[in-house]
């Protein structure tokens, strides 16, 4: 027992005070949360990173007097399995489901939940249609593609004005998967209205399964772009940046208006200094929120080698929302949760943005993106100012000048 632990406990205690009413219920039966994630199959990496958020949640929430009992099920990145596992979790007594990362699987699980009157809190899934289906039991604490894009593009404008950087032409590279196409569609729709100070020149859709991206980068380079907008999915970001270095393509900035890829452990490990200065505008943990500090400390202890990612934060928050609803309902029964969830107004949470609250469709519209810049192989919040840890550095230094 070192002083570190006790300090962490202190912070936890302070946070717990906010949830004081919860303590009265702490003797009650824990809330049974069923978590559905793609732990194997094509999305295993993402699913397992989400799972770390869940693993750490049990302890953190217990400290807050929000006892939960977590059961994790693997969707195997298969829609039939996702559906069947959801049924199994409910059959085994899960009172609320959390998941399921992939939009297709989330749709399948949502229908099971709707049928069974069990709430589903979506940790991550960006397809706008999910909350347009009139589900009564589905709540999403993740921005839609449109929201992500609007925030992402506005932050680019802010970044350019803060750093005084002038760019003329952007090349837009996007993975042609579900998420990438949704984002690309939103950018096409929203960019004109935002009066961006640059033109989007070449738009390059690429296959996430492609083995190398020499052509993609070759095209971006040939277009004469000085800004690269990138919507990647995961390790494709690594290959794209590596290819830029090899082809000596040095844009003034590489910015993702809201996608995974450039703030992940593997990205830093593989690219080292070449991964620095890239920017991602996306919802991020608010480093200044008290609960965030508790969470980050617990995460650091349980997963000393892992990096805290957006996936972790949103999975944690989804479970937090469920626990909060149970506290307010004074019951862990699904019915009570369903009555309490629409009234959610959770100001003490971890991701940047206003209090968590759901609109009539079950969508939380208070999530805001932050600009995250890679600095010394670490993601750092650089905008908005009230959350910033450092100031943004643009233009990026050239590859050979690092």
């Amino acid at each position: 027992m070192g002083p570190k632990i006790s300090r962490r406990q202190m912070v936890a205690g302070a946070t717990a005070a906010v949830f004081a009413p919860a303590l009265r219920l702490s003797a009650a039966a824990p809330l049974k949360v069923g978590l559905l994630l793609p732990l194997s199959g094509a999305l295993a990496r993402e699913g397992q990173s989400c799972k770390r958020g869940a693993d750490v949640s049990t302890g953190v929430l217990a400290q807050l007097g929000l006892p939960i009992e977590l059961t994790v099920a693997d969707t195997e990145t298969n829609i039939d399995t996702a559906r069947t596992r959801a049924e199994k979790l409910i059959a085994d007594g899960a009172q609320v489901l959390v998941g399921a990362f992939d939009s297709a699987h989330t749709m399948a699980v949502a229908q099971v939940c709707e049928q069974r009157g069990v709430p589903l809190i979506i940790n991550i899934a960006a397809a706008p249609n999910i909350t347009e289906q009139g589900f009564r039991t589905v709540f999403r604490n993740f921005p839609t593609a449109g929201r992500l894009t609007t925030d992402g593009l506005s932050l680019i404008k802010d970044l350019l004005s803060v750093t005084g950087l002038k760019v003329e032409k952007a090349a837009f590279l996007h993975n042609n998967d579900t998420f990438g196409q949704a984002m690309a569609g939103a950018i096409g729709k929203l960019a004109p209205g935002l009066e961006l100070p640059f033109a989007i020149g070449e738009t390059i859709a690429y296959d996430g399964a492609a083995r190398d991206y020499a052509v993609e980068i070759g095209r971006a380079k040939a277009s004469g772009a000085d800004l690269v907008l990138m919507i990647s999915h995961g390790e494709d970001a690594i290959k794209l940046i590596r290819e830029m270095v090899k082809q000596r393509f040095e844009p003034k900035a590489i910015i993702s208006p809201g996608s995974p890829g450039m703030y992940e452990a593997q990205f830093y490990k593989t690219l080292g200094k070449f991964g620095d200065y890239a920017i991602t505008n996306l919802p991020w943990i608010n480093p200044r929120a008290p609960l965030s500090k508790t969470l980050l400390a617990a995460f650091g202890k349980q997963f000393p080698d892992a990096l805290f990612e957006m996936n972790v934060g949103f999975t944690f928050e989804a479970i937090l929302i469920a626990a909060d609803a149970a506290r307010r309902a004074g019951s862990t029964a699904s019915k009570g949760l369903l009555e309490a969830l629409p009234m959610t107004n959770l100001s003490e949470h971890v991701m940047i943005g206003g209090p968590i609250a759901f609109d009539g469709k079950g969508q939380n519209n208070n999530i805001h993106s932050a600009a995250i810049q890679n600095r010394d192989s670490r993601p750092v919040v650089v905008l908005p100012n009230e959350n910033a840890e450092m100031t943004p550095v643009l233009p990026m230094p050239g590859w050979q000048k690092r």
Binding site: Q115, Q133, N176, Q181
Partner: protein
Amino acid sequence: MKRTALFVLIGLFLLAPLASGPYLLSLLTTLLTFAYLGQAWNIMMGFAGQLSLGHALYVGLGAYVSAALSLFWGIPPILGVFPAMAAAALVGSAIGFLSFRFAVKGVHFTLLTIAFAEIARLTFQHLSALGGTGGLFLPVEARTGVDLIHLRGDPRMFYYVILAMAAALFLACRALMASPLGYRWQALREDPAAAESLGVNLLRVKLAAIALSAALTAAGGVFTAFFYNALFPDQWFGLGYSIEIILAPIIGGLGTLFGPILGAILLTPLGEAITAVTDGLGWQSAGIKPFCYGVCLLLIVKFLPDGIWPAIRKRLP
């Protein structure tokens, strides 16, 4: 004996929803879907000997055509299923005709079916009118009650729909097997040259097998579309799905009527059983279940190369 077993099986399936909870019902729906799709695939491979590894193509086509008709023109699936089946039959016939015309056989034919399924997957990824990779969504309304015309209702309705489809297909296949066409398919499967010398028109017989198999698979796709209400090209056109479709009939016994059903009865719960066992043993590592599934599959092929049903049939009086 066989007849009794059949009646017991049908009886069990009919009564299952009364005794089972939603979880079991969900599992049984998956099981019957694969029994149905496997049976439809079996027409082409088991009966006529044409190995298709791209059957997801027809599931996807059926799903997308019926969903698009319903979404854009308000045509209910009960009518939409016909154009969906026709579209699949047409595509299947085109592939069949090309392969016949250019004498693409054996492994090459199989790779041709994969290639067409992949081309379809990539095409639908880029069809923004049908949602592209963003997905095509059917409105999820009226989740209670029974509306067979629009295929809206609760899970029990879907269960009985797929049960009826699987049973009807089983009976149809039994009739087909004993029909002149069925015997010509088997002749084509066993020895095309000998079949031809006995007056079998290979092109016609082959096209009939592919078109029928494709159309019936597409009908399964229509069911799937309205069951899941969300269509993504990678999901329904993917090679992974094609492989899933053919596991049950091969494990159950290729070319037999009971094979696809028995295969599905074994394989669908096998996944669940492995999950239960690994969870029970406390093996939490992700990937352990598909790993064990692979091992089981390997053992089955190794020791029951002809499938389960032929092994059982040998022991039946």
